[in-house]
Amino acid sequence: MQLYAHDLEIHFGQRRLFQIPQLQLNPGQRIWLRGANGAGKTTLLKILSGLQKPSRGRIALHGEANPPARWRSSNLLQGRIVYLHQNPYLFDGTVEENINYGLKQLALTVDEQRQRREQAIELAQLSDLRHSSAQVLSGGERQRLALARAWVLRPAHLLLDEPTASLDCDSIAAMAGMVDELQRQGCGLLLTSHQHTALTEACQQIWRLEKQQLICETQQELSA
């Protein structure tokens, strides 16, 4: 499934944040979205995931039986294009309950659910904390939990907003493992990060939000 955006534009009052004629995110692709603080990365990710309405333009998912879904016209984007907040919000409840949240929405057997949950908890190194309240987690643990919560959904596209900002090396490795696994399964990845990490290294493309525009480069160009 391709994520497709057309003629996006966003204003806040008088201020134009960016204008993007066209944009396309393919399955299995991993893209690093870069830009200065306040360039509009978070805003773009929220728009692509259908959480925020652009001032103009539209988002669609192509390549499936259903006709392209318009913004907010239905639930088509939700659960398939998953956005991870820069500061993740954790639901009141235990770590396990947080992971179960999206799972309940899927048509899975109890066994499959359990399997995915166990795998996610293991990969995110949260086994010791599985019964802790999510509210007491440390900054890094919160990030890992938020990814695990999205990971179990096997989304078509995953939009990660600064997933590694407050992680140590071990945690980043754990994150990278989960993300690689998703990519192998054909998930399209778009992530922002101000640091070079294992996650950004594997990106085939870099998108830059600069001067109110989106500029695409491939990783090779960059290193050249």
């Binding site: 639930n75 939700q78 659960g79 639901f91 899927l106």
Partner: protein, 236 residues
């Protein structure tokens, strides 16, 4: 009067557990009417409060102010409005609801709605929008995202529901006017208390009040388990 507060309280406990059919008929009217009214408005009122907290439209603050103001309409006046709708020449006169429990339900709806709308508006407006966004992006349909937000805000919402229910279960003016305080039909705890008070049977009135208090305590402690889980203020 001379037998002090303690013995009045005892009398109430005795009354409650004596299974006096008259007392239980009164209790049944009270709860069946007020619970019906709550059941009818619960979802619409909370949704309305949610809508007022998260949406932006012209005149929004006007609507919020209006709901808050409507709480300040005395119950007798609300009763009067319901009466003017329900009496024979009123617009709903053909229903012949005057002096029935349905009339009381209608009046109590008018009473509870502004309270519940404005209190749930208050609850939602201190919520965190990321909870909604997170629920939606994890694939929850709108109704489930709403329920999730309600769950996150369950402490203030529960308090709101209890406040609204307390308002109508203790309300006397409107029930008296449109219900008529008919024995075994529309006599509920507050109108019975008013009657006993007017007869000078203060002990009996206070005993009935105690009955209500005990039942409310019981309900509250059962709901307490809901509350228990929430561990203080959010720290993250």
């Amino acid at each position: 009067m001379n037998d002090g507060m303690l013995s009045v309280f005892q009398q109430g406990i005795v009354l409650l557990f004596s299974f006096d059919p008259d007392v239980w008929a009164i209790i049944a009217v009270s709860f069946s009417v007020s619970l019906r009214a709550m059941a009818i408005i619960l979802l619409p009122a909370i949704l309305l409060g949610f809508g007022l907290a998260v949406s932006r439209f012209p005149g929004r603050t006007g609507v919020i102010s209006l709901f808050q103001t409507l709480q300040a309409v005395p119950t007798v006046v609300v009763g009067l409005i319901a009466y003017l709708m329900l009496y024979r020449q009123g617009i709903l006169g053909d229903l012949r609801w005057l002096f029935t429990q349905n009339a009381m339900v209608l009046a109590q709806i008018f009473l509870a709605l502004p309270v519940l709308v404005s209190l749930s508006y208050g609850a939602f407006s201190s919520g965190d929008w990321r909870a909604w966004e997170t629920a939606r992006t994890l694939g929850a349909p709108r109704y489930r995202a709403f329920l999730t937000l309600c769950h996150e805000l369950r402490a203030p919402l529960l308090v709101a529901v209890i406040a609204a229910f307390s308002r109508i279960i203790t309300e006397v003016g409107a029930s008296m006017l449109v219900g008529g305080n008919i024995h075994n039909v529309t006599r509920n705890i507050p109108t019975a208390i008013a009657l006993e008070t007017s007869k000078g049977e203060f002990a009996q009135a206070a005993a009935l009040g105690t009955v209500l208090l005990l039942l409310a305590l019981f309900i509250n402690f059962s709901l307490g388990s809901l509350r228990n889980q929430q561990e203080g203020l959010r720290r993250g």
